[in-house]
């Protein structure tokens, strides 16, 4: 611990208010799910992609904004955040990979496949981010690293 005792301030992890990281991640995930349902509901026809692309873009923007919000959290238990996030990323990467396999196996091609793939990427990052934040927010940490 590097804190100077005279400047140290105790923060209660159970009581402190944090930005809406979980809400942003859930909203982003909901948007890609709606986009996926929209595309899947039109099979075998190819529907206008603009609504799906719009939803995906909005989900991506929310995800990036969420990542920025998370990166500014301080103090925060980054060790637990990355440990949980890393394993969750592996697990949801496998799940997203299986879903991608199904789309490719079913001959989804072109722009639809790109939208599906990017949606899976957003999904596979959203969930680990949410899980990692949900755990790390309650973990005790020392002072933030010196900049």
């Amino acid at each position: 611990m590097t804190a100077a005792p005279e400047t140290e301030q105790i923060v209660d992890v159970y009581e402190r208010r944090l930005p809406p990281v979980a809400e942003l991640a859930v909203f982003s995930m909901a948007l890609v799910i709606v986009s996926g349902i929209y595309l899947a509901a039109h099979l075998p026809h190819r529907p206008p992609l603009a609504p799906a692309e719009g939803l995906l873009a909005a989900a991506g923007v929310l995800l990036v904004a969420d990542a920025v919000v998370v990166s500014r959290l301080s103090p925060f238990n980054w060790e637990v955040f990355f440990r949980v996030g890393g394993w969750a990323l592996l697990a949801y990467g496998v799940i997203a990979g299986m879903l991608e396999f199904i789309f490719v196996f079913d001959h989804t091609r072109g722009a639809s496949l790109v939208v599906f793939t990017l949606s899976l990427v957003v999904f596979a990052i959203d969930v680990p981010l949410l899980l990692a934040f949900s755990v790390a927010r309650y973990q005790e940490v020392g002072p933030p690293p010196r900049r």
């Binding site: 611990m1 992890v13 909901a30 709606v34 099979l43 103090p75 299986m98 199904i102 005790e140």
Partner: protein, 205 residues
């Protein structure tokens, strides 16, 4: 900038002194991972071979267990758990939650993946099919369940497990997160009933 030490409450509500010690546990039961890997490999084989029986098997077994467990946890285990003492809840959670962490995502992925492929096989997924509307309705319900399960239920599950790993777990936080876990399991269970109506309808057309 003042250095800030983040800590738990100076005197968090913890398991009372004299309470039975929490058993040692793994957050992710490693012994279960090979079983999950085998199940997923079989699922991939079922999809790759596109065999109707195998797809039906995975979808029906996975969906039945997913639905049954959601209903059982939400409406049977939940109310019982709510009446237990905090130490008893903690002991139950240390044995129950890690298994759920591995079991439920596996059931969800096999149900959805096999179900999607089955719907393609049977033609339900095509917008020209007379019962396509039922399939779209089931997609919407699954979408809502996915948001609830991944956005609320699973984070609560994981946070409880990490809290239980602490030397002095916060009973109040565990109680709050467990309530969220149980309520969301109940809501997804209720949505599962709607899925059952749709699936039995599709299976008998």
């Amino acid at each position: 900038m003042a250095d800030v030490a983040l800590t738990t409450s100076p005197s968090p509500p913890t398991a009372e002194a004299g309470a039975p010690p929490r058993p040692a546990f793994e957050i992710v039961p490693l012994r279960g991972l090979p079983i999950v890997a085998v199940v997923l490999a079989c699922l991939v084989a079922a999809i790759a071979t596109n065999r109707l029986w195998a797809l039906d098997f995975f979808h029906v077994v996975g969906g039945g267990l997913w639905t049954g467990i959601d209903l059982f946890v939400g409406f049977i285990v939940g109310p019982i758990l709510g009446r237990l003492s905090i130490p008893a809840r903690m002991e139950f959670s240390t044995r129950f939650m890690p298994k759920m962490l591995l079991l439920m995502p596996t059931l969800v992925i096999i149900t959805l993946a096999a179900g999607w492929q089955l719907a393609r096989h049977e033609g339900f997924i095509l917008s020209t099919h007379t019962h396509h509307g039922w399939v779209v309705a089931s997609m919407v319900i699954v979408g809502v369940m996915a948001v609830i399960a991944l956005g609320l239920l699973e984070p609560a599950n994981l946070a409880v497990l990490f809290e239980l790993k602490k030397p002095r777990p916060n009973g109040e936080l565990i109680g709050k997160l467990m309530r969220r876990f149980i309520y969301t399991a109940g809501i997804t269970g209720a949505l599962q009933v709607a899925t059952l109506v749709i699936m039995t309808r599709l299976a008998t057309v």
